[in-house]
Symmetry: C3
Subunit: 274 residues, 3 copies
């Protein structure tokens, strides 16, 4: 098996940080396959990182190791962890960046923590013998996460790296709510590079009558669900490749046109004969 | 043989799209070597993608598979194809993005289509059994192109993927014209990250008398062809690493200095004694 | 052994230049592992490239080959070289971009050149038979450095590539100075993507009394050294992951707050009872 290691960070593309991590990994396991998910997460934006990671990780092969370095609390008392979910492994700070990952699985939420259910295991990283000898308090990505990921890719079991824990921090993510009248209130959770607005409204929350769907966003009304970005001119709503409702603009940038931001409301009106 | 797969897309660096494609590929062929050509093609700019691809692909080893995802018509009736040219393979929408690739080879143009000549074969992708099980109408890159490229990298023949076609869409690309008086009229086809202007004037279209060449661009006149970017101060013209005439500025940005854009004219004056 | 080749360039992410280099390498050695250090060095900024390279290369495994293409003098009389330092190899223009690399080792400086000491060897690239057949005067990265790096990764000895030289160009880098009164005068040498200011003041130049350290930068005074970015609100000074004194701002951008630039002075005041 060829072990794959992915990276989701806010370390940017203009510095040596990411390369230093990769060098450390290749020094321990020269056969590891390294794949960038994203390095341009907005500095310290845990919510964005959580979303971007969730959009990529399910497509990777069994046994892939996902390293996440969006870590404003680096060097403080925040814990660093390994989460094992099915065959996928995650090396990350315990700051909520794995919120979407754990929520896809059984488990239960209690306030800002999520109690792991069956098929999920986690350990806290507290065995410095498996880290780089000298650890900078400001760059655990290089000195802790990278060597841990490299050793995981060699097949070392997660329990070697620290004590078992049974809950993780999660973000207070909004989730779309469906009201009794059939209306759905959701939010923009991500704006992609094309200016498409990804919402937290999953396909199964949408009304069955797709041509009659009415979507209100940024003060504008969109009628009906489209199938592709080219279905019609102007603004359109569709179920995106993410599985969520997205707002897009044909040959344009919906975010710029609407002047909206992450967190803004998206409302789906009930479609009844009046 | 180690199979190489390259990527030329407008999917950007800030989202999970590219990584999702790579994950799908590694799930099918964990030994594939993945190389990014460019992910920051301007959204939906087929012409720019065609040029950038053409500047990179000839340098890759035999059998390399080039995946192109600049695809404004994704999910509509536009076809997706595999082109085989010599030993190189291209997986792309049939929207003109392979214009430079096919034009380097024998074949004939008829309007907006190019009839393939010897050494070129193509199929339309119409065998869903070789795609991902669930195909999003908005992301064929992940759900169709990626699995097709991965299977090609395992040695599967192109005819497995669909019916043979004998022509491809091509862009109405301007090509430099040489007039009877020896003057050449061309255009800027690309502005690179240094602000260098790449034109569509190939080396063999240039007058033989290089010191006497006069180039007019953006209202300025440049005399003589230089050999390197450091030959002289200010604006200079030279045959770039692309094989085309380029306009550059020593220690500066020619595009900013001249205020020109892609599509603007570049004129080479005949150099005769008056 | 799996040979690793890294890249530090100003070629950007929007063009095909980097991919063309990688294609050339994979054509010669399909087993080479390719890792990007940085491609967004400011055009022709040799000083920045020298710093970024120095922050990454020590973390790579033995035998790694580092290719540097920040090369304003490409095609002129500037030399291109291979430097061997320990087991690490560098393929680069001889324009000072290896200044930090050689200065970490024994050797002596004479004006703008550095005489190599024990454990360092270098050759000038002057054997065109080991380059691409046609060499563009404007892109030695693709036509000279890439094939040389690929052949090095196959184990070819550096003396095959050219004549031995015993000195390299170095930049007139400022180094922090410690005065008799215990004060230290240094400079900002890099601003990273978070807006953190990296100085040329190494940890061992700092006063022993860390809580009492006074740092003056951009007209502001910072008292005491922090350990992490989250130690306290506002501006803080700490020994960064680079091993140098850094100025940062908790949940903010120190460079923007202070309005400073690379080259600006950072002053550490002696901390004596007055």
């Amino acid at each position: 098996m060829v072990p794959v290691i992915t990276f989701t960070t806010d370390l940017g593309l203009d510095d040596a940080y990411v390369a230093a991590m990769k060098g450390v990994i290749l020094g321990i396991n020269p056969r590891a396959r390294l794949v960038d998910i994203c390095h341009t997460i907005k500095p310290q934006d845990i919510t964005q990182a959580a979303f971007v990671l969730d959009q990529a990780y399910p497509f990777f092969p069994e046994g892939t190791i996902h390293v996440v370095v969006v870590d404003p609390g680096v060097g403080t008392t925040r814990r660093a962890i390994i989460l094992k979910k099915g065959s996928a492994l995650f090396v990350a700070p315990d700051n909520g960046v794995l919120s979407y990952v754990v929520r896809r699985s059984p488990g239960s939420r209690a306030g800002r923590r999520f109690r792991l259910g069956p098929g999920q295991e986690a350990v806290v990283l507290n065995r410095p013998g498996l880290w780089r000898e000298k650890v900078s308090p400001t760059f655990h990505g290089r000195d802790i996460f990278a060597p841990v990921a490299a050793r995981l890719s060699l097949g070392q079991p997660i329990t070697d790296f620290g004590d078992v824990i049974n809950s993780l921090a999660v973000l207070p993510l909004d989730a779309a709510r469906r009201a009794k009248d059939g209306s759905v209130t959701g939010h923009i959770i991500h704006i992609d590079g094309f200016g498409n607005l990804v919402t937290d409204i999953k396909e199964d929350k949408l009304p069955g009558d797709r041509p009659g769907v009415l979507v209100r966003v940024g003060g504008r009304l969109i009628t009906g669900l489209s199938r592709t970005f080219a279905d019609r001119p102007g603004l359109l709503a569709l179920v995106g490749s993410s599985g969520y409702l997205e707002i897009a603009q044909r040959d344009g940038n919906a975010a710029a046109t609407l002047g909206v931001r992450v967190g803004d409301e998206v409302y789906i009106m009930p479609n009844k004969p009046v």
